[in-house]
Amino acid sequence: MTHLSSDELIDAVEGLLPPERHAHLAACDVCQRELAGLSSVLSDAKHTSIPEPSPLFWQHFSERVRTAIDDDASQSGNWPSWIRWQVLAPIGVAAMIILGLMIAVPKQNPVDSPLALQAPEAPETLQASESWVMVTELVGNIDLDTASAAGVIEPGVAEQAVLHLTAEEQQELTRLLKAELQRAKS
């Protein structure tokens, strides 16, 4: 009969060897020696305690964990703490409305350019400008109040969010809006 496998030796160490394998173990010196070696080292390991830290360590440990959690919370966001959806959503809506208004503002007629008179518009450009006209007509009449009434933006959310920003955050918001306006103009 074959020697005990590593699984069976572990079962034997833990007293869980199936009865049908006991006969082999009883007759096999190699398996007995192997089992005795494993059992001995396991017993050694079981009886090895670890040094107990001082009682003071335990008293302060939960406090230490608490401090570590606070530090972790403050470090976890490399993003500025004010960048949350509660702030970003109204800003996003406000930016969309501004964009809509900018599109709605009548632009200088490109017909003034002599080149524009000569060059016929490409079909895609024509289609695009038609889409823009439609968007302009749809969005052009929508101001902040209308958007609020339509439920696009809850009344006062954007204002509330802006009012709760610190001076530094307001500066950042101004910068973002300016950059957005600049991008839209160009």
């Binding site: 699984d7 494993l38 059992s39 080292v41 050694d44 390991a45 939960s62 964990v65 959690i69 972790d72």
Partner: protein
């Protein structure tokens, strides 16, 4: 109204506020997941010793073990909302602690017991208990040998031998199969035997 009935009404009307320390782990987890730091403090106090012991067995020194145990609890706090209670909280904490240890150990290399960890051997000598000293020296050697085992073998041996976890629970913690756990346990013991030169 009798005094007894007045008391009965009072007891019924007032909400019963159980002290946190008297709550079950599952109740504390719910409270902590809802943001109660006090509830989490109680959980830390309840499980700090076992989590520390897992970490100590891994790294074999107090400084690293306390850092790792702390790290394990920070991660537990972060992940509380993901704990669904399918396993015991202690098993979940073991899993976190073992993962923290495995990551740290592989990043830092093999763990070594500092020289001062054997200081208490000298204390024992002063007591004149030669037998205790020999036993303690043996314990130092065994801890060192365990700390030198490959990661999975070490984790398996620690969880099976010192925390009485079943093969299935260890498999869950390590993300492996029962067969792999048994194989790792066998190799851990065989390697320990080789390192320690244990003769039956």
């Amino acid at each position: 109204m009798s005094h007894e009935s007045a008391l009965a009404i009072q007891a019924w009307a007032l909400p019963v506020v159980k002290p946190l320390a008297g709550l079950e782990d599952s109740e504390l987890v719910s409270a902590a997941a809802g943001g109660s730091r006090e509830a989490f403090d109680v959980l830390v106090e309840r499980h700090q010793r076992t989590v520390y012991q897992v970490c100590y067995r891994f790294v074999n020194n107090h400084e690293d073990a306390s850092d790792l145990a702390q790290d394990a609890f920070v991660r537990a706090w972060r992940g509380l909302k993901t704990f669904k209670g399918q396993s015991a909280l202690s098993t979940w904490l073991y899993r976190i602690a073992v993962n923290v240890c495995l990551n740290r150990v592989s990043a830092k290399g093999p763990a070594m017991e500092p020289i001062d960890a054997t200081d208490h051997v000298a204390d024992v000598r002063i007591e004149g208990a030669q037998h205790a000293m020999i036993r303690e020296e043996r314990a130092v050697a065994v801890r060192k040998a365990i700390a030198s085992l490959p990661d999975k073998q070490r984790a398996t041996l620690i969880l099976r031998t010192y925390h009485d976890m079943s093969h299935q629970q260890i498999a869950d913690v390590l993300g492996s199969s029962v067969g792999a756990v048994k194989a790792n346990f066998f190799h851990a013991l065989a390697n320990l035997k080789k390192i320690l030169g244990t003769e039956p």
